[in-house]
Structures are given as structure tokens and as C-alpha cells.
Symmetry: C2
Subunit: 350 residues, 2 copies
């Protein structure tokens, strides 16, 4: 295994020259355009395909969640508390805050002896549940459960409780929970992250700037973990298997990742992230994909991931036709009339 | 007056090479980047400044509303129904659906003898008013009033009623309401729009692809209308004056346009549009500005407009400091912690 930066084909693309991959039409013309960089790597760090700059550090945001869940399994916490596939999938999720998501998180927290007040992810209005929104408006403090990251945070808390650590402040880089995550990221991404650019994620935890190629390599190691230490390989397999078994828990109704993973069951674990990030773990190919939209648009990240999966042969042509509405969604106006489309850019390189 | 396409300084910029103007940071690094094209024109079509491609047709979306309001004044409808500055401003608005917006639209419609069922703009959830959202959920049909375009549509209806036209179908290109708008756009943009690329806007009305330079020229003609036919010049002055007098009506609480126009009263009428559009009408300089973010991001359109206004000397340095929070907003996480910033890109050309 090569723990240094991934090898590259060809020369580095200058920053800002990432390819146009997705365009959004309205009526007779293209209205908006998106540039995306893409890395497809194998577990040894070989770059199998790349388009655009894959060396510049980027924040993978919520796409990193499957890696952040590794300590939950490796520590023995998941076994100690008998976590189900649904709960492990939620630890990797950016969920909609639908009833099943919230009920599962609430019951899980109760099992580790904590309430939602232990969550440090901050509140998020439950747009998919206006009844709950009204209860929150009326003063009921539910909002942290509805945060799309509440499963990941429950995973962090579960590890802390299992290790008999004070969970308070578990979102801070200094806390053992985040230090374990940092160690995992350094090993699986093949990088010393001590000097990596750092920031704070939407849910309060640290984010690290990591080159796109290294993130793709890490996802390839999740897809084909045989080169990882035994305990990490077993944890990776369990996480990827749970994600693929419970696609609803990863996102929810009508979400791209849930729709795609449901249709392609067993072939891909997908995870989107804020600001136009997306990763794919491809166990049948033993590859990982990471992509970032320059401008942060989720619509372009989703469509580009669909295009990359098609390019790699993960979807059949029949599946592409069946999934067209989620791969390349219609743009609707307020009266729900179809007025445009998200589509492959005319000069997209794949 | 030059009714052909605007003159250009220098050569056309190839599509896709529009300058990076805005970047969004998180912690220690830039997370996302936006490219924007900008045209600053005078009423004769001279391009005073330009960055990027200003010849490619673009949809100005809601930024075109001040021009679409011209027939409301020119037809005599505004006088016949005694429209206030607040109502004329609402005809040019993309409002928040706050109480004052909705109450004003409701009372205006009542004055022309119509109810909200005459609005063909489609529903829009009133995110700023959860009590109203709950009433809509309970079956009360309020949602068209809350549509951010309900003022513009009320203006269309007012003109139709004044002209004794059947208002039904007023959103269709064939209807006299839209034909009058088309005629105004052709004259003030200096273009035959018969073959322009067309589409349907979010609120159901036609949108036309028009080069950015021509839109900037049209806004300059609103800023300095002395070269327009008398009735149009008078209508332009009344619209710009109403917009500047009632900045709350144009958008609402905490919105960029409302904050900027309130602070710069009498110096600028601003109007944003969907998919990263923005225009400025600058009566003290006799200039118009139009800009479009390649990827459709409103955050980049707002910040770039602020930068252009600063570049043109419309804002003093003291005002830039005072308005920094709206020109270059903080990125907050769910716990409301400041974790990043929208800022001028390192290599922005202005």
C-alpha cells in the first residue's frame, strides 16, 4: 500500500480550469453552468481516472462520514450497544429528518443513556415535517434530533460512552472522539493532517482540507479493504454493507443518494456533502470516487456523480433510463410545470 | 440613441472564461469559487466597463421586473387605480412574503376587484411566516399571495383590468399584457426579440435570452431616461423613484437589496434575480449595471454587485465598512457560529 499522495496521470490542471460537466437549461437555452473536478482511485492510490485539479485541498464535508464512522465500529462500541445496520447507516447519513430517521436516533440515544440535549450538532428546522416544526415553534426542543447529522453525532456519543469518556465537548478537535477520527483519516487518506487547512463544519466538528485524490483513495480502501489492518478492514466492510442495506437512512425520500443506492443495491455506497461534494464507494470494482463542484452546487455534484458512475459502467443503459429523473432532474417552476433540466454539459469530458 | 447591440471595449471573452470574483471561505481555506460576468453601460449603449462575456444571451429573471413594470405606468393603469410608491415598488419586487408585503398585495387586488385566485404565479411557501404556512397546510389557499412575484403579477392584472382585457391567461406570451412587456423590452434593450431564446420563469411568465450588455444599457436608460420617448421617460422616473423610496417592498428583512438601497437611498435601485442575476440602476451616474454568475449562485451575485458599486464609487469607504456584513456575509454553522465568509476573490479584477 502506498500511503503517500496518489500518483497522477498527466500534469496537474491549473486551478480554475476544472471542466464544465453540468449545465442547467431553461426553455431554449442554457441558463447556468458548473465546473467539477473528479478523482477515481484504487486502494493503492493509483489514479484510475481524473478530470481537473485533484491536488488542491478540499473539504469533503459530509462525504467524509463513512470514514468518521470507523472508530464507532473499531472501538467495539457498535457491538457493545448492538447497533443495527440502520443505526450504522445513520452514523454515515445526512438525513432528511423524516419520522423514521428521528425515531431511530431518539431510541438509539436512549439506549446509550443520553437524551438529545447531549447532541452538539445544533438545531436544524425539520422541513420535511411541518407538524414537528410547529411543535418546535411552540417551544418543544426537538431541533437537534432533526439536524441531518444527528446520526453521526449519536455515533460519536456512543463511542465516548463506550470508552467511559466525558462526552461533553466531543465536537472539539482536542476531544478523544475527534482525535480517533483524525488518526483514522490520516491512515486511510495517507496524509499527515497536522498542517492541513482546518475549519468547522455545519454541525460543529472539525473539517480538514484534503486533496481530492486522497479522498478517492480512502473511499477505494473502503470499497476494497483487504490492504487495511484487519480491524479496520472489518469495520470498513460493516459500514459499507450497512450503507448499502439501508439507503433510506443515508438521506431519505426523493434524495439522490437514496434513490441511486436503492436502484444499484450492492454496487455502490454514495455519500453527498455540502458545497457540492460527493463520494462513491464501489465494492464490485474496488474503486473510490471523489468529486467537488467549484461553486458548491449540490445539483452539479449529484449529476456529475451519476455521469461518472455511468462512465465507469456501474449503471446499465436501462438503469440510466430508469433513473434519468434523479440523475438529471427537471427544473420546475412554482406551478410545478417543467421549465428546464439539469443535464450533461455539451463539452463534458465524460 | 443607439438601438443596436452595445459597443464593446476590447475583444469578446471566450465563454467559460468569466472572471472569478467571489470566493467562500471556511476556516483556513477557500471552499468554493464563483465566476461572474459584468457589464456597465450608459444609455447610448456605450460599455463603460465590462468583465467577461457580455454578448451571450442570458435570462435576467426577476432583475427585469423594473422594465416589466413600465406598461403599468405607461398605460395609465397606475394612475387610474391610484397606486402608491409601495405598490409600484412591489410590482418590481421579489419580496419575502412578510406581513406588510402580503397585506399590501391583498388590498391592492381588492381595489382592482380581484382576489388572489386571479394570480397565476403559483404558490410559494411563506418561509418567513410559519403561522401562515400552518394555515396553508390546514387548507387555506393563501400561497399565491406569498409568491415573491405576487406584486409583479398584481401589476399585470391591474393593467389588464384598466384596459378592459380578460385577465385570464395573462402570463402567456400571446396575451396583450405580455405583448406590451415584449414591446417595451425590445425598445429599451435595443433588440428584436422575435428570435431570442425563450423559456418560462419561476412564476410562469415568458423569459427572453438577452445579452448582458443590452440589459445594462436598458438599466442605464432607466437611470437616465431623457433619451427615451416622453411617456416612457416619465414612467421610468416614477418606477426608479418608487423603488428607492420603498426598499423594504423590493425584498424585505435582511435581504441584500433592501439593506443596500436603504443605506444608499437615492443613489441606486437594485434588483436581484434567480440563478445569480443582479442589476443596478444608478441615477446619479446615469449608468446601468447587469451581472450574471455562471453557476447561478445568488451569494456571488450579491457580493459582486457590492464590489462593482464600490468600484464605481457609489459607496464611500465608510459605507463599505458599515455594510460589510451584507456585502460579504458570514457563513454560519447550525449552532450560529461564524465559520467562514463570502469575500472578494484573491484575483478578482475589480
Amino acid at each position: 500500500m502506498n500511503d503517500s499522495a496518489p500518483h497522477r496521470h498527466g500534469t496537474a490542471t491549473p486551478p480554475g480550469a476544472n471542466p464544465l460537466t453540468v449545465e442547467v437549461t431553461r426553455g431554449q437555452m442554457v441558463e447556468s453552468r458548473h465546473r467539477v473536478s473528479v478523482a477515481v482511485c484504487d486502494p493503492d492510490g493509483k489514479v484510475v481516472r481524473h478530470w481537473g485539479d485533484i491536488e488542491r485541498p478540499v473539504y469533503a464535508r459530509s462525504s467524509i462520514k463513512p470514514l468518521q464512522a470507523l472508530p464507532l465500529i473499531e472501538s467495539g462500541a457498535a457491538d457493545a450497544f448492538g447497533l443495527s445496520d440502520a443505526e450504522i447507516a445513520l452514523a454515515c447519513a445526512s438525513h432528511n429528518g423524516e419520522k423514521r430517521h428521528v425515531d431511530t436516533v431518539r431510541a438509539w440515544l436512549a439506549r446509550i443513556g443520553l437524551g438529545q440535549d447531549a447532541l452538539e450538532c445544533g438545531p436544524q428546522p425539520p422541513f420535511h415535517d411541518r407538524a414537528a416544526m410547529a411543535r418546535i415553534d411552540a417551544g418543544e426542543d426537538l431541533a437537534s434530533l432533526y439536524n441531518n447529522c444527528s446520526g453521526k453525532h449519536s455515533g460519536f456519543l456512543t463511542t465516548a460512552v463506550h470508552k467511559s469518556e466525558n462526552p461533553r465537548g466531543y465536537i472539539r478537535l482536542e476531544h478523544p472522539v475527534q482525535q480517533r477520527v483524525l488518526g483514522v483519516l490520516e491512515q486511510i487518506c495517507g496524509l499527515d493532517l497536522g498542517n492541513a487547512p482546518k475549519g468547522i463544519d455545519g454541525c460543529g466538528i472539525p473539517v480538514m482540507g484534503i486533496p481530492l485524490g486522497n479522498i478517492a483513495m480512502a473511499m477505494a480502501r473502503m470499497a476494497d479493504p483487504d490492504g487495511l489492518p484487519d480491524h479496520r478492514a472489518a469495520a470498513a466492510k460493516r459500514i459499507v454493507s450497512a450503507m448499502m442495506a439501508e439507503p433510506f437512512m443515508i438521506a431519505g425520500t426523493n434524495r439522490f443518494t437514496t434513490r441511486m443506492m436503492t436502484a444499484l443495491k450492492g454496487r455502490v455506497a454514495l455519500k453527498g456533502g455540502a458545497e457540492g461534494f460527493h463520494v462513491a464507494i464501489l465494492p464490485t470494482l474496488g474503486l473510490g470516487v471523489a468529486l467537488k463542484c467549484d461553486d458548491g452546487a449540490g445539483r452539479a455534484a449529484d449529476a456529475t456523480m451519476a455521469m461518472v458512475l455511468a462512465h465507469l459502467g456501474v449503471l446499465t443503459e436501462a438503469e440510466q433510463a430508469e433513473l434519468a429523473d434523479v440523475m438529471f432532474p427537471t427544473v420546475e417552476n412554482r406551478a410545478r410545470l417543467a421549465v428546464g433540466r439539469v443535464q450533461r454539459a455539451a463539452d463534458a469530458p465524460f
